[in-house]
Symmetry: C2
Subunit: 285 residues, 2 copies
């Protein structure tokens, strides 16, 4: 069932709760692919009722980013959800989420702000304010849907860690379920932004996962020196790859690692043409 | 019933909700007086169950403020609550609320930040970060208790307006109930900080309400010019009164008024000795 208003969602959820049913939320920006689908499948399996939100959240886009051209495919998204057993697809307008007539800035809007230590690195470094927008909208969606469980992909690992931190810090009564990255056969992590890639670029994009798999393989042979592990990556890069970062950080609090270990996650971001792609891998056995 | 842990509160509330009972929350910093009592009475009357939180929230005190010497009177507070029919007094430790071992700053803690437009004036101007701490802890308390109604006093009018804004912006499923200021016979608004006043200072402190009542009386005779209304105040001040602000602002969004009208609230803050006191009045008929 496709729903556009907050009131309607609340009405349904209220009824479910009265019946003692558990509710799962899968927050998305639409343009659903098999990565989202795995989140949805997880929720449908675990919860009595599943809500998928489809909302391209303006306040998490930074100046110069792709807000206007971000892919919007609501009809297909809705079909995918219905076939997967989703109970409600919640697709509000920006006006429904943020009201009308005021500027979407911290001058006039209450924000939920993740700790600086978690956002001054990795994607947060180049995407200033991005995670403020993410935390704020996820907080709103939690308050609207009041789910028992919410499902997020490991693909956006920094986001996942920040949201877990928010839930803990603000005592939000939601359990966060992390779901593994879904990849194409080539290794390329699924992403709505892959739609921007040409065929050749898509082949070039395989380098992200190649680098990560390579690093993990080397780590598994016993190499823990991070510079040595990074060196294995550089040989795979060519002039079409504009590396933004390749970093080894703690799985839980994003602090920098001195040596690779079981709690290390390796994060990579690079640009191919105009398309910025990210990927990551845990070094856990 | 006096409870110190989040888990225990949640357990009780969960049971109540299952029984379909409504829950009211009265968030306080303790040192309860008749002002708090009126909030409690309102909640007990309106809701099936009432939780009073007693927590001197460290993150809403600014450097140099009275965190350490803020009055703590838990036993008396608990008695007052029990006599008033409160079901749970929730008095967590700072550790229970914020965990242990990390610094309470926006480097390591997720904050809820009210819009700049609402905090760059009145008390927010001198108490930098104060309302960030208030919004964050109130958000946490809402997530812990999940009340249907929460009761706040008009005494802290800027706080009340900011919390209403937060609830609206973040779609928090709580109805905010505003309760009128409770005053001594002299006119002095009740405040936990009145305990800091000597007898003479307490007499001096009557000037805040005198100024406000005077302004309202003048407004009621038809004067809407704000400078003229302010002038009526200055004659009441003496060298013992250190005026911080006297301002005419919109009741809902705190914007500055050009002329006094029905939607105007008059805000005053002044120091008597070392004690900073605030008061306010609506000009509505």
């Amino acid at each position: 069932m496709l729903i556009h208003t907050i009131d309607e969602v609340r009405e349904h959820v209220k009824k479910w709760k009265k019946e003692g049913l558990s509710v799962g939320l899968v927050p998305t920006m639409g343009a659903l692919h098999d990565g989202h689908k795995s989140l949805i499948v997880n929720s449908v399996e675990k919860c009595d009722k599943t809500v998928v939100s489809v909302f391209v959240n303006p306040i998490q886009f930074c100046p110069g980013e792709d807000l206007d051209k971000y892919p919007r495919t609501l009809e297909e998204d809705n079909n995918l959800c219905e076939n997967a057993g989703v109970d409600i697809v919640f697709a509000p307008s920006p006006k429904e989420m943020y009201g009308e007539g005021h500027i979407l800035s911290n001058d006039f809007l209450t924000y939920v702000i993740p700790p600086y230590f978690y956002v001054d690195k990795l994607c947060g470094k180049s995407r200033v304010g991005h995670f403020d927008g993410v935390c704020t909208v996820v907080n709103k969606l939690f308050n609207i849907v009041q789910p028992d469980f919410a499902f997020f992909g490991q693909k956006d690992a920094q986001q996942l860690i920040i949201i877990k931190k928010m839930v803990n810090d603000l005592n939000i009564p939601v359990e966060i379920v992390a779901c593994p990255i879904v990849r194409e056969k080539s290794g390329l992590a699924l992403s709505s932004r892959n739609k921007y890639l040409s065929c050749t670029e898509k082949e070039e994009a395989v380098v992200l996962s190649k680098i990560l798999f390579n690093i993990k393989a080397c780590y598994n042979t016993g190499i823990v020196d991070i510079e040595a592990l990074k060196d294995t990556a550089y040989s795979l890069l060519n002039e079409n790859h504009d590396l933004e970062y390749l970093e080894f950080r703690d799985e839980n609090d994003l602090s920098e690692k001195e040596k690779a270990d079981e709690n290390t996650r390796v994060f990579i971001a690079l640009k191919i043409g105009n398309v910025r792609l990210i990927d990551n891998i845990s070094l856990k056995h």
